[in-house]
């Protein structure tokens, strides 16, 4: 039997993030007091400690802060994907998140490269936000 890849289990804090990606939209939590965006999601603003926030759509544009290329499968479900890239993507709005860079050979990925989001549907509940090079 082919093992399946881990599927995110949304927490109380991250549920709105995954609801948005399911609808093909990237949303981040923004503080209603100091307007800063944050990621990962949480009840407290790490800048001003406010507990008031809203989930707002963001551009989906960003740049590669850094990246790595896996040559070893730490999980059997990723063995067929080797070598694959995982990047720390900095969104235009500020927060950074980990994701995959797709649609480009791993050897052509560079730090600070411009990228944009796309969504990969995993099942009815979950779509993963991934990134591809942006012209």
């Amino acid at each position: 039997m082919t093992p399946s890849k881990p599927i995110p289990t949304p927490s109380e804090d991250s549920k709105p993030f995954w609801e948005a990606t399911r609808n093909g939209e990237l949303r981040l939590q923004r503080c209603l007091d100091c307007s800063s965006y944050r990621f990962p999601p949480g009840v407290l603003c790490p800048e001003c400690s406010s507990t008031s926030s809203e989930w707002v759509p963001v551009s989906g544009r960003g740049r590669v802060h850094s990246f790595v290329v896996f040559h070893r499968a730490y999980h059997p479900a990723f063995a067929n994907d080797l070598p694959y890239a995982v990047a720390c993507v900095e969104l235009e709005e500020g927060p950074r998140l980990l994701s995959n860079i797709v649609g480009v050979e791993t050897a052509r990925i560079r730090c600070d490269m411009a990228v944009e989001v796309l969504f990969e549907k995993i099942n009815e509940e979950i779509s993963l936000p991934k990134f591809r090079p942006r012209a």
Binding site: K5, P46, H65, V68, Y84, V86, L98
Partner: protein
């Protein structure tokens, strides 16, 4: 930490179990071997220990580990604590020991880490991450640290030749250490030929996995003078945490070693130029390079050229990880770094002795490179 504490506490005993592949011994067996060796080294009886600080198991996830150890050692203590700060735990335990003695909790503290990392794997002990990583195939400490190396290469032009120089230097040292796990000579070509694990890390950029334990005994400088070994005084102690995480700000390229080191140097009243040997937490080659920059041995971004030309080797300007480090001696979560610094300052290192070593720096770095601790020791 208060400069009034400088030289007030000392390391009086160090010990280790066999390191490497030791399938016939249990976790506690390895730990007790290290404890016994440290007690013998110090000339102390187990009843002299009234405080125990241990690293809460990375692999076994044992709760209240210090108590389990004391039970097997057969002593009651006035103070016990199990610490979890990843690779920063080693140097932090020595600092907590000094703080506990200063506070009057106890007078002589045993610090310990050890487990069967190589022959008994029961998961990596980290909390299972449920989202924002595994679904993208992001697993393990190697990839996390590799993100830092990629960014450093991008910003400062750091090369694989430079990372390789670190691995080669430490292997040379391990070849002079009969206790080391890896004693096969290694060249820069061997380094380049070793397989990619997670680019930009070759296999030989990554530390070993080991069975093993090490123990360090701390007491007051006053008491230390009556014991078997020449005391090694704790001159400086520092700690800092980049708690907003590895992905935040410039944390991938500027480690908490910067503030942790600054505090330790300030307390000790010395500068990087005064350090005769460094024992750096080398979970990955890149962490050595970045730590040396952040401690101020060279400028930020100049770590690449700094580690080349034999500077880190015995006979070089800054002999570093003289027992082989975690890259070649064995992975005991940074505890062997404290053991080696102590032995260097006592002049007990035989063919790998740094001539007339007076002052040593030891680093601990953990939680995927965001928790940091520093010790500056002198003879």
């Amino acid at each position: 930490m208060n400069a009034a504490l400088r030289d007030k506490y000392a390391i009086v005993g160090v010990g280790q179990s066999r390191i490497g592949r030791v399938p016939e011994m249990s976790d506690y067996g390895l730990q007790l071997a290290a404890v016994k060796s440290a007690l013998d080294d110090a000339g102390l009886k187990k009843q002299d220990i009234d405080g125990i600080i241990t690293h809460s198991h990375l692999l076994g996830a044992v709760r209240v580990h210090h108590q389990r150890l004391a039970e097997r050692l057969g002593i009651d203590t006035d103070f016990g604590l199990s610490v979890s700060s990843g690779g920063a735990t080693s140097c932090l335990m020595v600092q907590l020991a000094a703080a506990a003695i200063e506070a009057g909790f106890c007078s002589t503290v045993l610090c310990l880490h050890g487990d069967k990392g190589l022959t008994r794997k029961s998961g990596d002990g980290h909390e299972p991450v449920q989202e924002f990583g595994p679904e993208f195939g992001m697993f393990g400490a190697t990839a996390q640290h590799a993100l830092g190396a990629t960014r450093h290469m991008h910003e400062y032009g750091t090369t694989h030749d430079q990372l390789g120089a670190i691995a080669v230097a430490f292997r040379k040292h391990a070849c002079l250490n009969p206790e080391a796990q890896m004693r096969e000579p290694m060249t820069l070509d061997d380094y380049h030929r070793s397989r990619w694990v997670v680019w930009p890390f070759h296999l030989l950029d990554c530390c070993l996995v080991s069975d093993g334990a090490a123990a360090v005994i701390v007491t007051s400088a006053e008491r230390a003078r009556d014991l078997r070994q020449p005391p090694v005084f704790v001159m400086g102690m520092g700690r800092a945490n980049n708690s907003r995480g590895w992905n935040y700000g410039n944390h991938m390229t500027e480690l908490a070693a910067r503030e942790s080191g600054a505090k330790a140097f300030r307390m000790a009243g010395v500068t990087p130029a005064d350090i005769d040997t460094a024992q750096i937490y080398d979970c990955y080659s890149y962490i050595v390079l970045a730590s040396l920059e952040d401690y101020g041995f060279c400028k930020k971004g100049e770590g690449g050229p700094f580690v080349q030309g034999g500077r880190l080797e015995l006979g070089g300007a800054l002999p570093t990880n003289t027992s082989g480090g975690m890259l070649s001696e064995g992975y005991v979560e940074g505890m062997l770094q404290i053991v080696e610094a102590t032995r260097q300052l006592r002049g007990q290192c035989g063919p790998r002795q740094v001539p007339d070593a007076q002052t040593a720096l030891v680093s601990g770095n953990g939680g995927n490179a965001v928790c940091h601790s520093t010790l500056i020791l002198r003879k």
